[in-house]
């Protein structure tokens, strides 16, 4: 029966028993050290490590405006570009939103000339941005000389408003809200003009065959400020 029990063999070998005993004694001492560190020395920190921290994330914004004026012929579709260089907002945490206003009036000077029809759309191009954001306004038209306003949300989930978040740590949220790759590249705005002729258009000297368009690009850059709620 003793042949079947390995413990008898180990117990009868004094040399092995000595080595195994030393090993397990050291093991117990180290386990006591570990338990002391875990429960006493670092116990307070460990017990609260799972409690979720809350943070307030607020944003400071800076706006940069570029204006482009074009005269577009009747029936033409022109591409107007805005190029954002990699280092153009390096002092900020990110590129938040791009507002594009397309402004025009009836400039023919003819009597009773109605406003022309202008359509504009900004297409998802090579620029990395939150193109799928449901608040984006990527296309618009006007036949009444009203300003066409387009919006592209560039930085994902950015909406200018202060946020309350829970979990992780300050560095995590800082790294989440710092990314200079969004918004770098060239935005393409396509503008088409269709002239509405004045009632006097039949007179040979009276022609309305183009329109002046003013495009203002307002780039909103932001710096995030993250504070832990005590």
């Amino acid at each position: 029966m003793s042949d079947d029990n390995i413990l008898f063999d180990l117990r009868s070998d004094k040399r092995a028993l000595k080595h195994i005993s030393i090993f397990f004694s050291v093991l117990i001492v180290v386990l006591l050290y570990h338990a002391t560190v875990f429960f006493v020395i670092m116990g307070d920190d460990i017990s609260v490590k799972d409690l979720e921290k809350s943070f307030i994330i607020s944003f400071q914004e800076v706006e940069n405006e570029d204006i482009d004026t074009r005269s577009i012929d009747d029936g033409d579709r022109e591409v107007i570009e805005l190029e954002i260089l990699e280092n153009s907002f390096s002092e900020y945490d990110g590129f938040g939103v791009l507002f594009v206003d397309i402004e025009y009036g009836e400039t023919s000077g003819q009597f009773a000339d109605p406003c022309d029809s202008v359509s504009a759309d900004i297409s998802p191009s090579g620029v990395k941005a939150d193109w799928e954001n449901e608040n984006n306004v990527l296309a618009g038209t006007s036949s009444s000389c009203e300003i066409i306003s387009l919006v592209v949300y560039v930085f994902p989930e950015y909406n200018s408003s202060t946020q309350n978040v829970s979990g992780e740590n300050k560095e995590y949220w800082e790294s989440l809200w710092e990314n200079s790759s969004y918004g770098v590249g060239t935005f393409h705005l396509e503008v088409e003009v269709n002239v509405n002729q004045p009632p006097t258009a039949g007179i040979p000297t009276i022609q309305d065959d183009d329109e002046e368009i003013i495009v203002s690009w307002r780039s909103v850059y932001f710096t995030s400020n993250i504070e832990e709620i005590e």
Binding site: D3, D4, N5, I6, D9, L10, D13, R15, A16, H19, I20, F23, V26, L27, V30, L31, H34, A35, V37, F38, F39, I41, M42, D45, I46, S47, K49, D50, L51, E52, S54, S166, G167, E168, N169, K170, E171, Y172, S175
Partner: protein, 442 residues
């Protein structure tokens, strides 16, 4: 880095499943093994088939943002339990059987299987990650069994020492390395009271209680003590001119641990083997150390044991498949390491392609020589060792085939359970409950 991490897990999945499935095919043809070796060989195969699927599940979980993560999380957990079961079973019978009679084997394996079923029941009843699962038991059992055998045979009376006694110790040490290697790289954290060791949280946040975290952390501590014991004994043996391959295998883990201390000690760095870290440098380090151990070193160590210690019967029929298996492992492992380096250090693609070609050619050349050397120069663990250490237990071929069937069905059942957990949102429910109890927001 999450992408690199999941890519490595996929590579690990291929390596592990290839090793497990091909080895199983070869081993099933080998009728000449002793009872414990036949059992051990099959257990190693299933261990790696399960680990391979688990690696793929973890990689998918990292790439999935929708609620299907629950399926992969449960699959990973269930297959990790299989790993626990196979490691404990292996430690009980190989290289020296601690279970010495048919009755002991039956009782031991029944208790083990019962434990696995018990853990599954805990998980499907909405109680995953509780102390009742005995977190860290795999490390305790492996440490007790293999450390005892290692010390007994590595420090045996010089008059009774021979190649077989050394080989028993080496096999025990290799399995301890396979299981604990990644933890040895954390030794400075344990000794120097670092946050990255004591704050380690396997499941993340309030999912596990402080007692659970302590039990898991304590099991890491015993692994580190075991590692130091191996290191000390191997250095001692080396100083007496009786060094072994084990010393060269263990030392890098401890050196990497010292370097890792600097990386992980950066402020606010939190670390998890499986979930990576929130810091770029620490993520890269984790990928090149812990993840590489899981995905590449483990299959390589297992392949070495299978080939070197005669668990394969290499003959004219099985030799081609065994060679294919080793080539797959070497080529995939080599290219994976190079790709990893390339993802971190920007090397021109043409240069890296050329380097890959050269390294693979060298690897295959090395494989030719090393395979022949391994296959023709097998090490024995029985010759010259008292017969009482290797009692005869009758295990029929039918029983061995039944073991294959049980493991196969277990994996299928885990898939089914994971599907149910996903469909019933069980893990999400448990998470919300535990986060609410902790007073936080999920």
């Amino acid at each position: 880095m999450a992408g690199d991490s999941s890519n490595l897990l996929y590579i690990g999945a291929i390596l592990s499943v290839a090793l497990g499935a091909m080895s199983l095919r070869i081993i099933r043809k080998n009728k000449d093994l002793e009872w414990n070796e036949a059992l051990a060989a099959r257990i190693i195969c299933w261990m790696f088939i399960g680990k391979g699927i688990q690696n793929a599940a973890v990689a998918n979980m990292q790439d999935t943002s929708v609620d299907m993560w629950q399926f992969y999380a449960q699959l990973s957990s269930g297959l990790d339990n299989l790993f626990t079961g196979t490691i404990i079973a292996l430690a009980l019978i190989y290289p020296v059987p601690l279970l010495r009679s048919e009755k002991q084997v039956k009782i031991g394996f029944t208790m083990l299987f019962g434990f696995l079923v018990y853990v599954i029941l805990l998980e499907v009843s909405g109680n995953p990650y509780t102390v009742f699962e005995l977190p860290g038991i795999v490390y305790w059992m492996a440490m007790i069994c293999w450390s005892t055998m290692y010390l007994k045979f590595r420090l045996i009376d010089p008059g009774n020492s021979n190649d077989s006694t050394d080989n028993i110790a080496i096999v025990s040490g290799l399995f301890l390395t396979l299981l604990m290697g990644h933890i040895w790289m954390w030794w400075p954290g344990m000794v120097l009271q670092s946050n990255y060791f004591y704050f380690f949280d396997l499941a993340g946040g309030p999912m596990t209680s402080m007692t659970w975290d302590y039990m898991w952390n304590a099991s890491y501590t015993i692994c580190i003590v075991t590692g130091f014991m191996l290191l000390g004994v191997e250095i001692f043996q080396y100083s007496k001119g009786n060094g072994s391959i084990l010393l060269y295998l263990i030392i890098p883990y401890f050196i990497l641990g010292a370097i890792g201390y600097i990386v992980y000690s950066a402020p606010e760095t939190t670390v998890s083997h499986t979930r990576g870290t929130n810091d770029t440098l620490a993520s890269i380090w984790n990928l090149l150390t812990s993840q590489l151990h899981f995905t590449v070193m483990r299959p390589l160590i297992a392949m070495f044991v299978l080939l070197k210690f005669g668990l394969f019967n290499i003959n004219e029929e099985t030799k081609p498949m065994a060679k294919i298996m080793t080539i797959i492992l070497i080529v995939v492992a080599t290219s994976a390491i190079l790709e990893l380096i390339q993802s971190i250090v920007p090397i021109n693609q043409m240069i890296s392609a050329a380097l890959l070609g050269i390294i693979i050619a060298l690897g295959i050349g090395w494989e030719e020589r090393s395979f022949d050397s391994l296959a023709s120069n097998k090490s024995n663990v029985r010759v010259g060792v008292g017969k009482r250490w290797f009692p005869n237990v009758s295990i029929s071929q039918k029983t061995l085939e039944r073991l294959d069937l049980v493991c196969f069905i277990y994996i299928l059942v885990i898939f089914l359970i994971s599907f149910i957990v996903w469909q019933t949102d069980m893990l999400v429910t448990v998470m919300l409950e535990r986060y609410a109890e902790a007073g936080g927001v999920g």
